[in-house]
């Protein structure tokens, strides 16, 4: 399988470690990613909150550049969602295709499927292949896999796992030797889009998620979305101020955890970029 890789803007800045760790992991697992030349921003919420046409035309600009690939691979839940929805709508709606052509000057029929890296890991590569390549199993590490509200929705368009109780990330990290805890907040919203307007609400939602992960016995939370990551990792000080609880809960991208297990050097994972350092947890684990 050949994958046209869409890194996404967040992964160039705030979440550079997501991009870096994803590339390292794919390298280790023999998944060939070739970056889409000249890709542009997927538009994310700002685009689809402004105009439907814009929200389709922007991904179309990128998708139209994909040649000779079996699938488009993404890591960010928001990029995935936007590209996947655009490709779906372009496939179904000839009139929309024509309007996009007029607006963006590109022809795109959404033929190449848009896939999330978790989907590729689980369904193309298979967890058995991951297990074989694990060098340092994450034995003893309890992980709460947090999918967020976007990754599995809308189920009619996404449909690579159960939208109510997804398992893919759990399976991938279990293959890496981690113990994935059962917890109820897997697909709860973290409130990202209210980050600036209503920080109080976001703080509450982050607190709920952190609390449930802790109560389920998790040492760390694994995420697949840069916004979830920012919210949960960055807000723990605010949460402490508002709710008086200091969780010190490391929040990592699933690719970082997987990279650790595959023996990727820390440099290639960007662990130093995290606010709540995973070091203490990982050291304790290594000592045990």
């Amino acid at each position: 399988m050949s994958y046209a890789y869409f890194p996404g803007c967040s992964q160039q800045g705030m979440a550079a470690e997501f991009d870096r760790s994803a590339r390292s992991v794919c390298d280790r697992l023999g998944i060939a990613l070739s970056e889409i030349p000249d890709w542009v921003c997927c538009g994310a919420t700002p685009a689809h909150a402004t105009s439907h046409l814009l929200s389709i035309a922007l991904p179309a600009l990128t998708l139209a550049k994909v040649k000779d690939a079996d699938a488009v691979a993404t890591v960010c839940a928001a990029c995935y969602s936007r590209l996947r929805i655009a490709s779906h709508e372009l496939r179904e709606d000839a009139e929309l295709r024509a309007r996009v052509k007029e607006a963006a000057g590109v022809e795109c029929a959404g033929e190449v499927p848009v896939r999330h890296l978790l989907d590729i890991l689980c369904n193309d590569l298979g967890v058995a292949a991951i297990r074989e390549r694990v060098k340092r199993p994450l034995a003893g590490l309890k992980v709460a896999c947090y999918y967020g509200c976007l990754l599995m929705r809308p189920p009619k368009v996404v449909a690579f796992d159960d939208p109510e109780n997804p398992r893919v990330m759990d399976e991938v990290l279990a293959a890496a030797g981690a113990e994935c805890v059962e917890w109820p907040y897997k697909t709860e919203c973290c409130g990202a889009s209210l980050s600036l307007a209503r920080p109080d609400v976001v703080c509450k939602l982050a607190n709920d998620i952190l609390r449930e992960a802790r109560d389920a016995g998790a040492h760390v939370i694994a995420v697949a979305c840069p916004l979830c990551h920012t919210n949960l990792d960055l807000r723990q000080a605010d949460v402490a101020r508002q709710y008086g609880v200091r969780y010190e809960m490391p929040v990592l991208f699933f690719t970082q955890l997987l990279g650790l297990a595959l023996g990727v050097p820390e440099k290639g994972l960007g662990l130093n970029r995290l606010i709540v350092s995973p070091k203490p947890v990982l050291e304790k684990l290594a000592a045990a």
């Binding site: 159960d162 109510e164 109780n165 109820p184 109560d215």
Partner: protein, 663 residues
């Protein structure tokens, strides 16, 4: 010379709004062969029909065209009218100027022109009509009832008490259906078993009823009044004649040990275990066990045989095989009931994952004195008596994302019942009900729900549950109370989902065997939603109970009695009249290719040998069984030698119509 009468109906405004009926009548009068034409406001009314009768007599009409609604609606009506005036009923035809004209057009000019044309076509046809005489077929006055729930039981008893023989076929080891599983029944809270078991016993002892349990209908041939049904009686491996129902076998079956048994008890919906040889419940009829071969050690590895050793009546017989019997019946009542959607299909509420999220039928078993907890409400995970129970209505029903847009109709009532009965058993407990709307239409129904709320203290919250998860041995239920606009969170010990009522799996296959239409959800379709609610489009096949749509017991019983009365009505005749509009084969020209047999959906084509006087076989030709033929005409259009003619739709008649198009 033909003397045709044409009668144009206004159908109130239905036709007259778009079609100028007076002009159509004027036009009709000019057609060759038309002796009389008139328009009238309601032709189907009493004066309307009298108008036709008088005209036939006064003008000596030889044929009649009524231009009004679809023949589906009133062909029978007008053919009777014509007959009253002494004309053969098949000399009357209908031109459909309502469904096929006024209802679908807007332009008055064009619609009027089209109505004129439709009338002209029918006038040309009716000139070729000939008098036809009804066909008489014998009626076997014995009924088959499929399914032994309360619907099948009621229908069987009514027919049997009406003096006719009934064969009742039940798939399971006992009759009773879902009603036997219920605790107490709304709206009066009488014990389900108490009102049910006497009827079950009556079925067993009734001289007019032959009961086949653990049996299924495999094949249905024939037609109304004359069905031949093949029934497979599955091997129970217990001789019904010898068994005394003492229960020794099941108490000694090593697969049934309380602690080690792994066989889920279907009657308790998996809330308990059972042995491999078992009677589904203590009041079962017949009280004869069956061996579940999949779990029986004797059948799996040849060892064991304990039941046979301990049976004092020597009734256990491992060598028993399925028996196939054929029965002749005149009518069939389908009463195969429903299933509930498994709570496992409601993943978002933890159905199938959390042991304390159960469905309504499981809760009935927890309430029932014969249930796994002896009638004490104890939750499945740890046997704790739940102090807070959340009931969620419409779990599946009215939910397109679960493929069930319809309302299951009975859940509002049984949920109120559940909240009430729970309170009766756990006095200090608190019941919460999440609902969308309360649909309690029915005699004393709304009062019943009010009682649950006002006297029994159930808290009703209007809203949906958004999330449900396990935490610290409880189920956290998050939802919205849309009346107060507040989010609510309840820590519950037990959650009961009122899951959707669905058709039984396999109902589609059964429907196909019986040639009964069914809807997209597998419920069997009645012939007319208002006027023929128990008949089907397959003559001689009737519906009773929840196989047709979700229904409670009163409605089920009413429909079952209605079906029985239809059967008794049919059985009041020794011979039945059928419409003569069936196919006939011209034996002289038939070449015996039997293409007609291949296309006939009703199996009406038979082979007939033509012999000379000395008995030498000359040829084999096709022959139409008039009792079976439904007059669809598929054979006539297929016949390559042009040897088949459909009475009432002969080539002459059809070509006359075609020739009249666009003149």
């Amino acid at each position: 010379m033909a003397r045709v009468g044409v009668f144009i109906c206004h159908c109130g405004e239905n036709i007259a709004r778009t079609v100028d009926c007076a002009r159509v009548a004027e036009y009709a009068a000019t057609l060759p062969g038309v002796a009389h034409a008139v328009d009238y406001r309601y032709m189907c009314s009493d004066p309307g029909q009298r108008l036709i009768e008088t005209a036939i007599r006064e003008h000596g009409l030889t044929g009649v065209v009524v231009a009004s609604c679809s023949p589906h609606m009133h062909e029978v009506t007008f053919r009777r009218t014509v007959a009253r005036a002494g004309l053969n009923p098949f000399l009357c035809e209908m031109a459909n100027i309502r469904e096929q004209c006024s209802w679908v057009h807007e332009d008055r000019e064009a619609a009027t022109a089209k109505a004129c044309e439709l009338v002209r076509l029918m006038v040309e046809k009716v000139k070729w009509n000939t008098a036809l005489e009804p066909i008489h077929v014998p009626v076997t006055r014995k009924a088959l009832v499929i399914g032994g729930g309360i619907a099948g039981i009621q229908a069987a008893l009514d027919i049997a008490n009406g003096g006719r023989e009934v064969i009742l076929v039940e798939k399971g080891p006992s009759i009773g259906g879902h009603m036997a599983q219920l605790s107490e029944t709304f709206p009066t809270l009488d014990c389900s078993q108490c009102i049910m078991t006497p009827r079950m016993v009556e079925v067993k002892n009734h001289p007019n009823i032959t009961l086949y349990t653990y049996a299924e209908v495999e094949k249905v041939d024939g037609y109304i009044g004359n069905f031949a049904v093949t029934i497979r009686k599955k091997a129970r491996c217990v001789d019904e004649a010898l068994c005394t129902g003492c229960g020794e076998c099941q108490s000694k079956c090593p697969q049934g040990k309380l602690k080690t048994s792994v066989i889920p008890n279907e009657f308790d919906l998996g809330l308990s275990r059972r042995p491999a040889i078992y009677v589904p419940f203590p009041q079962a009829v017949p009280n004869v066990p069956v061996i579940d071969k999949e779990h029986c050690r004797y059948f799996q590895d040849g060892k064991c045989g304990v039941c046979q050793k301990v049976c004092p009546a020597k009734a256990v017989d491992f060598t028993q095989t399925d028996q196939v019997v054929t029965e002749q019946v005149g009518a069939i009542v389908v009463a195969t009931g429903y299933d509930v959607m498994s709570s496992g299909e409601y993943g978002e509420y933890g159905g199938g994952r959390y042991p304390d999220v159960i469905d309504g039928l499981q809760f009935e078993r927890l309430l029932s004195a014969s249930g796994p907890t002896g009638g004490e409400v104890k939750r499945p995970s740890d046997g704790k008596v739940p102090e807070t129970v959340v009931f969620i209505a419409c779990a599946g029903s009215r939910d397109r994302s679960h493929g069930v847009p319809y309302c299951s109709k009975i859940c509002c009532m049984y949920t109120a019942k559940h909240a009430m009965l729970y309170k009766h058993k756990v006095h200090h407990g608190q019941a919460y009900v999440f609902y969308m709307d309360i649909r309690a239409g029915g005699k004393n129904y709304d009062e019943f729900v009010r009682r649950a709320i006002e006297e029994e203290g159930a808290v009703y919250l209007r809203g949906r549950v958004s999330r449900l998860y396990q935490k610290d041995g409880q189920l956290i239920v998050k939802g919205a109370d849309t009346l107060s606009g507040q989010p609510v969170e309840i820590a519950a010990d037990l959650v009961v989902l009122a899951t959707a009522i669905q058709a039984r799996p396999g109902s589609d296959a059964l429907a196909q065997m019986l040639k009964v239409p069914y809807d997209g959800y597998g419920f069997l379709s009645e012939a007319h939603p208002k006027l023929r609610p128990v008949e089907t489009n397959s003559a001689g096949v009737y519906l009773a109970g929840a196989c047709q749509a979700p229904k409670d017991i009163p409605e089920t019983v009413a429909q079952a009695s209605a079906a029985a009365s239809k059967v008794l009505g049919l059985f009041s005749m020794e011979q039945m009249e059928r419409e003569p509009t069936v196919s006939v084969v011209n034996e002289r020209t038939c070449i015996g290719c039997f293409d007609c047999e291949r296309v006939c959906p009703f199996g009406a084509i038979e082979h007939r040998e033509i012999r000379d006087r000395r008995g030498n076989l000359l040829k084999v030709v096709s022959h139409v069984n008039e009792g079976v033929c439904a007059g669809c005409g598929a054979c006539a259009t297929t016949c390559r030698s042009g040897s088949i003619e459909l009475r009432g739709y002969t080539d002459e008649q059809v070509f006359a119509q075609i020739a009249a198009v666009g003149v």
